[in-house]
Structures are given as C-alpha cells and as structure tokens.
Symmetry: C3
Subunit: 669 residues, 3 copies
C-alpha cells in the first residue's frame, strides 16, 4: 500500500445514501424524505451540490435558511452529510454579467449557461467567485454536527475536460513556463523545428486550437496534462479554502473512474484527497457491463492506493444520457452494489435519493422513483440497506491481488492523438481485452499506476503503454528481473513523455527488456484478419519483428509477415518478458493469459467456478477473509467455503449455495 492514511469518514459501518437535492421539493416532500430514508437505513447524503443559485440568488446576497433547516432535520434523523461547496455550476447571474468566464471549444464556440459546468476553471475571476461561495458555505456549517465530509465541487471535468478560452490559454502558458523553464526547452520537447513551429517566447504559445490540420502532438499532450492539472488546481483551491475554516473535516471530490472517463489523471489527483470517491454508471448496451464495473472498481481501489474507497454515485436502474437507457434487471442493482463493496468500496451511494420531476436528469433512476414507494426499485432500496447493515464487519478490510494491470492516463491520452500508424487503436479496448480475460479466469487483479509498487506482483500486464519515461520503463523491467512475468502489448514504449519517438527500433523503451527489434509497423485494414500459427486470428496490428534474445511464442501463418514473430517471450532474471505484437481474438488472448498465469503460478480466487460467477475476497486486519460470490447467471452455484454467510445470516459448512442472480458474502473461519 502506497498510502497508509486511515479511513477518515465518521459514519458507522458502510455508508449508504446518495445525492440529495431538497431544493427541488416542497417542505412536505422533504419531511417524507427523511421518514423514508430512515426506513431504508440511509446514513450519508451528498447535499448542496447544485445549490449556488439558491444560496446566492444574486451577487453577494445569501439565503442559507432553507439549507439550515435541511441539515438540522437530517442531523435529527441521524443522517450525516457530505456537504458540497455549491460551486459545481455557476448561477445565471454570474455568467450573464461575466461572459468571459465561459469555457470555449477548440473552434472558438462558447459553451453557455443552460446546462451545468459552464465555467472556465482557469479563469481567475470565476475562481474568485467560487472560492467566496465555498468559504461562505464552510463558515456557515463549520460546526454543524451533520457535517461529515466536504464534497468539493462535483464531477470536475465531466463535461468540459478541456477548455480553450483565453483564460485557459493564459494559464497554459504559465504552466508551460513552470514545466520547461525556458522556451528552448519547450521547443526541444515539442520538436517545433517541424512545420516552422519554433516559439520565441512562451507568450506565443496557444492551446491546440482548431488548425488547418494535425496540431503538434506534444503540444496536445501537454495541453491534456495541463487541463487535468488545472482542474485539480481548482479542487485544491476550493479544498484549501474550506480546510482553512474546518481543518478537522475530511475533503474529497467524486471521480468518474471507468473505461470511458479519460481526461483526468486520477493517479495524480488521489494524493490530494482525504479519501477516494467514485461515480460509476453501467453502459446499458454492453452485455458485459458487470465486467466493466469490476474493472472500474479495481481502478478505484488502485487509485486509492489499495485502501477502501467510497462509491459516491451509481444508479438504482436506468440512466438518462445514453441513447437507449436500459432499466436494470431484477437483482442487478443489488449485485452491482455488492460487487463494488467486494472490490473495496466502503460505501454505496446513488445519484440520487428522489427522482427529479424536472430538469435534464428527470429520467435518471433514483432510490425513490417517480412512481413512489410501491415499486421494485424502492423495495430494492430497502433490501440494499438491510444487506449493507449486515456487511458492516467488512468495513476497512482490503483486497489482495497477485496480478496487476497497468493503467496510465497520459499514455491513454498520447495513444489517442491522431496521425498514428492506426487511428483505429483504442487504448481502453486493449485494456478491457486483457482485463476481461483475467476476470473470466476468476483472478483478482489490481489496476495500478506506474508509480505504485510493481514489485509486489507475480504477473504484470502492460497494454499499449505508448508513452513512457525512462524511469518508468525501468521500473517495469525491474519487476521482470525481480521475478514477475511481465506481458507488454504492441505500440508500447514508442515515445518518451514528450511524445518523441525513441529511435533505433521499436518498441523503444522495451526493446532490450523484450529482446526484440521491430523495424516497421504494419497496421491492418478494417475487417482484415490474419492468422497466427496456432490457428487463431488477430486483427488491427502487426509489425516486422526480429528476435534479439527473445523466443517466438506465436508466428504469423499468413499475410506479408508470414513466418515472422507475433508473440515473443524472453527469460529475464527471475522472471519473463512477453511481447504481444498484435491483437489476438478472444481465445488467443485467453490462451496467452493462461500460459502467463501458469508460468507465474497464479490461481483464481476460488478455483473451479462456472463462467459468470464472480468471487472476490476482502481481508480484514485480523486475518479473516470475506468471500463475496456474485452469481451473474440464471443457475444456482455451489461454492466450497466455510464460515458465516452475512446476508442471510447462516453458517456454511463447506458448501455455499448461491441462488441464480444472487450474491452471498461469507466471513470465512
């Protein structure tokens, strides 16, 4: 564990609740809310996220009375509050009087008020207004007994991860000057000798605005870095403001860790949080959405340094922002919730408590739906509360994995910049391909950053780590030398952290470790599938490789590279370094993963489970384990385990039966 901070949230057991927006409802409805929350066992709510325009209805005029009443009422009901800074969306009076704080797209389009997040976080003027609001909230509620946690802003970067306004441009130049010191250093890093782009001073530099063709890729990559840093800077400024008023209250903001959220480098954000919180939503059209959920939960745990983390938002059923918003199947919400807990969440929270009647999110499901109490959704809200109370002992326990998969946000960004050998390459598609093969084998996986302790793992999977610094490449090599089986996939190690190609043969940074030299990429065309010498297919990518120390594991059976290596392996110190220079079909990936795990002697969490049954263990400080078994199938399953099943409160004498679509949690003896 890289970060030994204790769990700072003072809520008993596992936290349960969601976003609560009482300003949308009458007093009578608010009274009913509290009654139903208590019935459901809710103990934590996020309050005030979008309240700016209600708390400061015009500049400098504050109306806190309604919120006083809400917090008092919740406190009285024993419910604690993650109180927001109320800054997540500026009020109309602010953007109307100061349109210069609106964000802009690369083509100059202004993003106006009317939705949310219509603000340039880099604008000093906007930041001044936001800090004032945050300070007012902090001062008002510094001593309120309901206050358990500061919810700083909200989903920072969700809709405007990149702002191209003049304010952002100015901040970018400051950031660059700090990063590079001299403009010559920037010119060298960005390769501005190309296309007559040499800058004579930092003042000449722009964000990657719309241009006649491909903008300098190093400039783009730095702008992506800056944008993530600038959002974090906004977090820090808000956090410091409230911390000054309430040094005793922990702070966080809700991340959006998933296979889809790309632009915030949460690995660099996490150290600024008192705890890590995540919002996660299923993609309804994905038949394997529960695998993506597991991945996202594992990312969250990795970002949290292995510690427990908060599930700050998910949905009871359908969301509102996909094209066809699938309602969850019977039991699906319960399985989703417990899958997060199984992978380290010590809270289960939702957007939102009561489904809105108006506004853009009124078709997003909630704990209490439009149709009211007499609904399956609300009955499941009650059942989930019951289950989480039964799982209180789980709090604080941790997950342990022998396998890690490396996630690197800057590599994700860099690999997606255009004018690459194949723009069809998708970083997350590669990540998910390897993660899913491990999930299907029942192997518990940590999804880790390059800066975590890689030496702890028997197996390390490194999908498409396009950009990597020398130091980080060395850390991966050290893991192999130290005994791990390291698997690296194509288009890794190609460039340094400035997106400058490593010369002399691909895959630059890993050429020596892998014992291969590739002289040229041969991306495949759409629908082009070639065959490997074990008969499996592969698409998207091939390259002209020479083994220089490695052995060939798979060679091409056809295509222009027939006979030359496609998958290689090199013994390194006590470990091994594998290279997969193409994208094998699912069975091919599975076979490689099988060989890799066998070599490293890694077993599933529970051997012998049928496909679709997920098993993960959390380990308590006292050495006991909590085995979560989640049955994603329509058949009941038998699991060999001894202990006390917590959800149904009965002893298991060696054989646990989990009903179709159900979940069990056994505290093992």
């Amino acid at each position: 564990m890289t970060d030994p901070r204790p769990w700072p949230l003072d809520v008993p057991g596992l936290a349960y609740g969601g976003d609560y927006n009482p300003e949308q409802w009458s007093r009578q409805t608010q009274l009913e809310d509290v009654k139903l929350m208590k019935e459901a066992g809710v103990n934590l709510l996020s309050v005030g996220i979008f309240s700016w325009s209600m708390l400061e209805p015009r500049e400098g005029v504050y109306t806190f009375a309604w919120l006083d009443e809400v917090l008092d009422r919740l406190h009285e009901a024993g419910i604690r509050v993650a109180l927001a800074t109320a800054t997540a969306s500026p009020p109309p009076w602010l953007t109307r009087s100061h349109p210069e704080i609106l964000p802009r797209k690369p083509d100059g389009t202004v993003l106006h008020q009317g939705a949310r997040q219509s603000c340039a976080v880099a604008s000093p003027l906007f930041r001044r207004y936001a800090l004032t609001m945050a300070r007012r909230v902090a001062e008002r509620y510094a001593d309120h007994p309901a206050l358990a946690l500061w919810h700083i802003d909200n989903e920072l970067g969700c809709h405007v991860p990149h702002d191209y306004s003049d304010a952002a441009a100015a901040a970018f130049r400051v950031w660059l000057a700090r990063r590079y010191g001299t403009v010559d250093a920037l010119n060298a890093a960005w390769g501005t000798a190309f296309w007559s782009q040499r800058y004579d001073s930092f003042d000449e530099v722009l964000p990657p605005l719309q241009a006649p063709t491909f903008v300098n890729p190093s400039q783009q990559l730095d702008f992506f870095r800056f944008s993530s840093d600038e959002l974090l800077a906004h977090y820090r400024a808000l956090r410091d403001t409230v911390r000054e008023v309430t040094p005793h209250v922990p702070t966080t903001t809700n991340f959006m860790m998933s296979s889809a959220t790309k632009w915030m480098d949460y690995h660099s954000w996490a150290p600024e949080m008192d705890l890590v919180a995540n919002d996660h939503y299923l993609i309804g059209s994905d038949p394997h959405a529960h695998v993506e959920l597991a991945y996202s939960a594992d990312v969250s745990r990795g970002v949290a340094g292995g510690h427990p983390w908060m599930l700050m938002e998910h949905s009871t059923s359908a969301v509102n922002w996909q094209v066809r918003n699938r309602a969850k199947r019977p039991g699906e919400m319960l399985r989703n919730s417990l899958a997060h807990v199984a992978r380290g969440a010590d809270s289960v929270m939702f957007f939102q408590w009561r489904q809105s009647a108006a506004g853009a999110e009124r078709y997003h499901s909630s704990m209490l739906p439009h149709a009211g109490r007499d609904t399956e959704v609300f009955r499941d809200t009650l059942e989930l509360g019951r289950r989480l109370r039964a799982l209180a002992p789980v709090r604080g326990s941790v997950v342990r994995a022998e396998v890690a998969i490396v996630l690197d946000y800057p590599a994700w960004w860099a690999s997606g910049i255009e004018a690459h050998p194949s723009d069809a390459l998708d970083y997350q598609e590669e990540m998910q391909r390897w993660y899913r093969a491990l999930w299907e084998r029942g192997v518990t996986v940590d999804v880790v950053s390059l800066h975590s302790d890689l030496s702890r793992y028997r197996t390390l999977v490194v999908p498409t780590l396009y950009s990597v610094s020398d130091a980080d490449a060395q850390r991966i090599a050290d893991a192999a030398t130290g005994g791990a089986s390291v698997l690296i996939t194509f288009f890794s190690g190609i460039v340094d952290e400035h997106d400058r190609v490593r010369l002399g043969g691909y895959p630059g940074a890993f050429r020596e470790l892998l014992g291969v030299r590739s002289e040229e990429f041969h991306p495949l065309q759409e629908h082009e599938i070639l065959t490997l010498d074990d008969g499996t297919g592969a698409d998207l990518w091939s390259e002209k490789i020479h083994c220089e120390g490695a052995e060939t594991v798979r060679a091409w059976a056809d295509g222009p590279l027939a006979g030359s290596p496609a998958v290689t392996r090199r013994r390194v110190g006590d470990g091994a370094a594998w290279y997969v220079a193409t994208r094998p079909e699912r069975s091919g990936v599975d076979a490689i993963v099988g060989a890799l795990l066998a070599e490293a002697d890694v077993s599933p969490e529970v051997p012998g489970l049928p496909p679709g049954v997920e098993a993960v263990r959390r380990h308590a400080d006292d050495g006991s384990g909590f085995l979560f078994v989640i049955n994603h199938t329509g058949a009941s399953v038998e699991v060999p385990v001894r202990g006390h099943e917590l959800l149904h409160d009965h002893e298991i004498q060696g054989r646990l039966t989990v009903a179709p679509w159900d979940t069990a949690v056994v505290r093992e003896h």
Copy 2:
C-alpha cells in the same frame, strides 16, 4: 368543423397553377409563358415571392414597372395572382449594411446571405424593412384586378425555424415575461432548482445556446414555442400591413405540413389565415410516399378545420434537395394531385411554372421543364389542367371521417428533446405506423389537434402524446366516456405542458383513464425484439405495468417483463381506453387496429378494395358524394359504385373499372 369561414378565393372551379418567377426570364419567354399557361388551363399563380432585390434594388429605390407588366399580362390572359409581399429573402444590400439582422445557430454561427431566408424575423430592424416592402407592394397593387390573394412572405421557418441571435434572445425574454408574469413562475415551470439554474430576473435568461451538456428541457420546449410564435408574429405583422391597405383581399402563407416539418405549430397558426395553404413534397426514397402524402393532406384538412384548403406547391416530378432525387413514374403526378383533391384540396399548384436555368433550385422539376413542351411532364401538365376542369363540381365539398388521430406539435417537440428514456423514439415514426395501418384498411381518418371537437369520432388514436395539459387529457378522457374507443400509445401523458413529470406512476395524465400504473420504463436496445403472447414481435419500448382496472389484451411472452401486460383495455363509460405500451411490428399494429375498428363499428370508405387502392369521398352541401378511387397498383380494379365518372365523363352503372395506376372520380347519385 371548428372554423366556419367561407372559401375566400375568387377563382372559378379548382385553382390550378404554381409559383411564377418571370424576373428570371426574358420578355419573349414571358410571352410564351402566358400562351402555354392558357393552353394548360392555369388560373392562379404565385408571383413576386423572391422579388425584393428586383423591386427595391437599393435602399428606398423601387422598380415596379416590370412587375406591373407581368400582372397586366396575366390579367389579360384571365389568370389571377396570389401576390407575395416579396419579403421571403432580404436583398444583399440589406444584410450587407445591417449584418446584425442575420440569424444565428446555437453555437453562434451566423447564417449569411447567399441562399435564402438569411434574416432574423425577431429583429425589429429587419421587420421594419420587411413591413415597408410589403406596404409598398400592397399600395402598388391594391386595386390590380389580377390580385386574388396575398401570399405573405413564403414558407416561414423553412430553413431557420430557430434563430439564436441576440434579437431572438431579446424577443424570447419578452415572450417569457408575457407567458409567466414573474420570474418565480418561470423558475417553478422550468425546475431551475436543478443544476443551479435559478434565474433572478428575466434578463438573465438565454435561448438554449450551446452548453456543456443537455440544456434544461423546459427551456428548450419554451424556446420552440416562442420560435413558432415569433414566425407567426412576423406573419401577422406583414398581414396587418397589407390588410390595412387592402382589407378586401384574403391573406395566407404556405405551410409545409408533412411528416417531416416539425417546428411550426400550424394548429396555432391556422386561425390567423383566411385560408390554409400547403406545400408538400414526396420523399423519393420512400416506397410508401403516397401514404405519407395522404397523411399530409389529412393534416392539412385538420389544420384547416375540415374546410377545403389550397395545395400551394408540390412537384411535377423530382425535387432538388434530396440526396437522390427520384423522378415521378408515369401517372404518379396525376395520382398525387388528385389524392390531394380527394382529401380536401381545392387547388393544385406547383413549384414552379418554368424550370429555372440558374440558382440552387434549377434541378427542381416544374410544369414546363428544361427540355420544353415536347416532354411527358408538360403533357401531364396539360392533362392535369383538363382533369381539374372536369372536377370543378368538387369545389367546396368536404371529407367526413369517423376516426381521428391526434397530432400535437408541442408534444412532438417535447418528445424529441434529448436525455429521454430512449432517444431512439421518433414521434412521427409512431404517428406514421398507426396512420398507415388505418390507410391500408381504407378507413378515412382526420388528423386533428387536441383542440378540435374530439367528441365527433368513434375512434381516437393518440400516438405518443408525451406532453399534455390536464385540460387536454380530460378532453381525451371525455371522448372515451362519451363512447369512443380511444387508443393511446406508450410515453403519453408523462409530462405537463412545462415538461414536468407527472408523479405517482406512468402514464401520468392517462393513468386513471387507462386503468394502468407503470412503475418503470424498460426501453429496448437497438435490434432487440421481444415477443408478445400472440407471437408477434415488438421493439423499442417496454415498461413495467400493473393493471388497475384494465384488462390485459397482450402480455409479454419473453424478456424481463414476461407475463406482464403490454397492451391493455379498459371499459370507460360508453367507450373504451386502450393502452399500447410497446411498438408492435406491422402485423401487430394491424391486428390491434382491426380490433379497435370492429369494437367501434367503423368501416372502410369502400369495403373490399385490394391493397394499394385508395378510396376517399368528398361530400357536397347538397348531400351528393364524390368518390375518388386512386389505383396505386399495376392491376385494374373494380369498384362497386353508381354515378357519373367526371374525369372520363361517363356513367357508372354499379361497377367502376379503374385502370392500373389511374384515378377515377365518381359523382355518386
């Protein structure tokens, strides 16, 4: 009939003609025009629509002489004129000297001069120029004997239904202040407590400009209402101007009623017209384009309150604005023309008389094509003139229907706003599905607004009436209580007129009438098809329904809702209320329509006709009927009828034979 106005157009028989743009042609060609028009029997022309830059070549300088000559020549030939206000497109000098009158898109893009309609109708400055032009034309031709009708502007809203310019924003705020009185009322209606959108004054409100994500849906809906109202306000201002000069001359403008034109609420526009006129164009790629034509004609009649209406524009053959502009098949133009007449049109007019040699519409077919007289198109122009003269007795007769289908423009707008349970839902697709089933059964249908007299019908079909006021929902319920069989389809009655969800269970406004309670929507994924218990398939939509007074007509046979209701029926007073909570395939829709009509004892206009043969009756004041039979098939058809066939002028003794692809009209005895 909701509107007892007499037919104000003083043209004998049925009007026949089209747009006439003599300014594009030499004097010699204009002389030939009149000769050929007389040969074809043309008796009405729309003149001057795009003449502003020719009539006022620079600010304040007027050149009417050429138009004087044209009108005199037409009058001399006995051709009457629908004279335009010449305001349909501002002249270049105007937009060049006043670019502030140009319209804008939500992202701020200015729509420049170079095409047509490059003007913000909400701009007071533009309106002043336009009214001046209209007044000049009116004053010039007030007493011209050719003047039969004022053609106010042209196709208002065709290309710029929504303008986001500053002028539009200012007018929107005025409109909102008038609608809501106080900004608190607006805040309540729009639910601005959500996402920190509370407005402190009307001055803060913007049109739904481009924003970081989904703009407030109630704001969008009101902007759509405003935009329709503002176009109508422009009409009214122009109309009042010419009416002041020529109080005796009727006024109208050409609507574009079809399954595609969405943004003008013609139901609210019609009362401002002295007669209702429509422009209709086939979609060449649609193999059932003649059904869509029938629908559009029925919409026109509904908008005209059941009265005869003008077909102001359609095409002799191909248009120019589709991707692949299909030429009409032999006889198709004649069938199209008479189908409009069959459904209430008392005129058949075209865009345009002579095909242009230049400009963006030069590949739009005309009465007289590029290739000249010796063409099938011109021969059909002559033949149509002959047929319309034979149909003169039809003038003034009306269509009668026992079935109505409800069309509501605001519900169309509201149902299409994003972030809904399924953005794949398309209002017109639902509308066309039910309309077509009725068309195929040969049943005459009125397409009516919610404000027409719904009590007149035996059967009322209400597709996806997403938004509805309490009062309008009550009118539908009253129709059922009064004895009608009312069929309502999914996602109806969900929100009120402000797009605020009706709480307590779906489908809010119709829950009691239908005797069902739905607790959750279950939209289906793309290509997902579930099965009903009669074996038919259904896609797009399902929902979790409980019968509370209704009986189950169809239940789900598979899927997560297997066994629960999909189609229900409840006896209500003397009638019945059906609910279709999914989108059945064609055969499923047909079976439901069959049961509905049988229950209501509704018959086809002519029972027993083969598929593809269309029969509609117009009824004269004297009780006689005109039976139109349009044969859309390649086989001749026998129709049992007695009377005088008008097109071929012969007596029918009980059995009319209609040749393949031909049309017959029998004045029944």
Copy 3:
C-alpha cells in the same frame, strides 16, 4: 505537345532524393545523413520548406548560418538542392502578432497556428511578410552552387484550399470585378434573379459563407475558381520575387495530382512553372492503389504537356494521415517508383530523407526509418538508387498514347455542388471507372485538359463533363468529326461555364453531337440496380432519352424506362460519338471500352499480357523505346521483347521474364 520547354533541371540522370529537414537533427546526425545519402546515390534534396521560424526567429532577425552550413555540406557531397522559399508555414510570432492573417472556414471558424499553413494567402499583410522572407532566402543563396531549383512555398492549398476570411472576401470581389466588368454581368451569370440575390454593386458580394440553405451554385463555382487563382497568384508573387534575384534558376512548386486533390486547377497553374512537380501518396485501403498511381502519373504528364515531370514526393512505405496506414509490401515501393518513371517522371523523390522523431508526421515513413540502416526500407532506398542510375538513359524520353481521357477541374468542382439530381454522383468515381477499364486492357492513356490538342487521339473518353463552354464542347465535337471515337458519359454538357443550364433538352452542349435528346433525369436510389438488355447491371443514373440521329447500343431491360436507350452511338464525320447515360457495372464498362477501342483500332502497349501486369513505353528522341514492365502479380510473366534490360543489365532476345512483383525496363532495339 503543347509546351516545348526544355527540362530545366541541372541534375545528371534521373533526380533522386527527397525532402530534407536538417533543422530537426543534431550536427552529428546531419553528418551521418550526408554519408548515407552518398551511399544511396541521392543527388537532389528539397531543403528549407518549413524553416521560416528557424531562419527568422523573430520579426526582422535572421539566422542563416545553420542553413549556410547545410548547403555547403551538401554541395561538397555533390548533392544539389531544390531550395524552398521557407514560406510554407508562418512562424508563431507572425500569427500571434497579426491574427488577422489567419484563414477562416465558411462558418467563421478561425484556423489557428499549431499545425501548418495557418495563413490567408489573400492577405496583403501576410503576403508582404512572405515575400520578404522569400527575398531574403533568394538573396542569401542566389549564388550558392548547390542551388538547382526554387521550391516555391509548398503544397499550396493542401489544407486550406478555400479561405473565407475577410481578406479572401475582399480579394474575391476584386477578382469578380475583373472577371465580369459590371455587376449586371455578374447578376446575369449567377442568375441572381433567383431567391432575391441581385447585387447592386460588387461590394455586396460575399464568399459562399454558411447560409440557411444551398448557396447560389454559380457563386460557389466562381469562388472555387477564385481560390485556385489566388493560390496561384501567391505562387506567382513568390516566384517573381526570387526570379528577380536569380533569373537563371528554374522555379516550381509541388502539385498534389491524384484522384483526391480537387481544388487546384493545375491545368491553369502549369504554364507558370518551369517544370511540373508532383507529390503522390497511395491510399492504403485501396486494393487497386497502383491503378490510381498510374492515373495520377498520367495526370501529371498531361499537366506537364506531355513533357517529363518531377515526382517530388511519395512515400517509401506507410503515410501517417490515413485511418490505418498500411506499410508497403516487399517490392511495392520499387514498383511504385518505377511506375512513375514509366509514365514520364524524370525524378523519384520522397517525403522525407530521415523519419522525424517529433511532430505530426513522425509516423510517416522515410528513406531512413526510425529503426535506422538495418531495415528493409533503407535497403530498398539503396536499391532504388542503383536502379535509377541504371535508368539514366530514360531521361527526356516521352510517353505516346492514342487514347485520351479528359480531366477538367472546374467540371469536377461544378459537378460536386449540392442540390443536383443525384448528390451521390462523384466525378472521380466516374473518371476512375473508365480509366481503370483502359488500364486493365493495357492501353496507354493520356489524361488531358480540354485545352490540349484533342485531335491527336483515336479515342477520347469524356466522363461526366458536367460544365463546358461552347468552345470546348465544339473542340470535342471536332475530334469526333475528325475521326476519333468519342465517348461521353451522363451528366455532361448540362451547364455552361457559369453553371447555367443549357435549355431545350439534355445533354445540352452535346445533344447534337450525340444525336440524342433527354427530357428528364431519373437518378436511381441507393442500392437500386437496373438491368441493361445485355444482362449487365447499372446503377446511380438513368434518364429519359430519345434518339435523334443516334442508334441504341444498349436499352433498359427493366425499370420505368424499360425499352428506352441507355447507351447510344452516332456516326459523326469520320468518327463516332457514344453516349453512356448510366453507370454500368465493371463488366459493362469493359464491354463498351472494348467496342470503342476495336472501332478505333487501338491496341494495348504489349498485347496478350495477363491481368495485373503493367506495360508502358517511353520514347526517346532518337526513336528508341524503353519498355517498362511492372508485374503486380505473384507469378512471373513472359513478355515478347528484344533489347537491353537496364535494371539487371542483360540482353533480351525476344522473351523477357519478369519475376513476381518485380519490374523490368528494356531499351528496345
């Protein structure tokens, strides 16, 4: 040959080399460059293209020393230089201090610095800066012995063929005033009587900016003409500047002639060049990319008036700007290079010498790849050098063809403007369809402009010459009268040079020549395929034709036009005029081409070759021929020929064997 200029390039034999960007590399790497260049036989390099920001790092400050050193070193190595004016992309300091020189899109979007070509060539201010830079370079290196050619700017119009900035608008108005003299003439040409577009003065005219709907097509066409002319004007201004300093040095710029580059009328540009140079890149996803290469080379030769031309850029392997950048197969680069030479190129050059480590083009292949010397790519660089030295005798020889296909840029532009009968029509798709049928038959083809000597050919193919002047139509008719078999395809001759329709029946300008009259277009729908009376299929287009002098070659077998003509032929003087009024499938095109060639007695360059084997002859002044045989197949091929094979330096006694995928060049006795 229309242009008898001698080859002005003072480089011995065939020129060999590429773009050289030493500013991206260390001194040590530059020294290695020269060593490897000499090894490869490089004798010409393009230098300084993107050096502006390195040569003038801030306004008025010049740093030529590094370039002095480069040129001296190259001269010392015997390598000559095509020296650029360094103006291809403005330096950041210039666009930052003068943002008004940035180009704009039709919707007003500014195209910023960050890529390349972010400048409005019509801006007088920008041009002043560019001319100053060019003059400085010219003065500095006027007498440098390495200087062989001026490379004016670079790929003019590549990314910004059309600029809609205010500077461009002003220049457009000047251009129009020069073209039309009076605004009345413009109004007549553009048909501004339509849609109220009459201009009262040139000051009112805009570029075709974004408008509510289709902008006036004649306005668009003139703007396309202006844009091409304005880029050429920029070339001329730069050329005149350097020519003033170095009257003895030839000048050119690199065109981008291919099936994809549409917006520069290179036929009108060529007379301003001292020699014609081309950049050509394969489309990796096209399995027939070598046919497109042949076409592009033939276009280059046509633009060069039949003279030898320079291949200024192509690629050794993959490019970087396609979605999936295919690497070349073994031998493919050699075949590509010699195919260009076979069709008239007297140089083979690449982008670029050494593959960049940074910048947007770092994944574009080069003569010396990232992986260095020990690569197939560099070995082929050496082999190509060897082969080009062996081909030195080819220099100056020319290709002779009996068949020509007409390419007309303005017709390409005009045919692609929207609101046509079928927007699915694609000019180059038609061009390639007919070109490919000729290529597959082994027939050598000239691709010529309308202004070349058409009387030289036995067969003339004119695909979709939508717009044509009277004079040019007459030249085509004269070719037929003079004995040629002329084939014209649908949608030809429809409009004059102003895009005004020729009235009286299609295909206007060619109606008399072809002896047909078409009264109406019948474009086909997507996926609609009709059948001709020989059983072959045809899609996209049909039209209602009457033979008026022509005979029917193919009639429609089905569809609404069944029985009427689809392909016709008319005897004209000593020749014939064919009309193909649809788009036949490949076999149908081939059959028509077969009949056409048989009629004109045209034979392949080498009869009897198997499919995929390309044979072209270059003819020397002394009467001897060089037969190039390029084997695009995996089987070896025998070719009946006598002479000396140059690449492998051996005598051929009547039967040349060309190995699979290889090339041979025989100097025939």
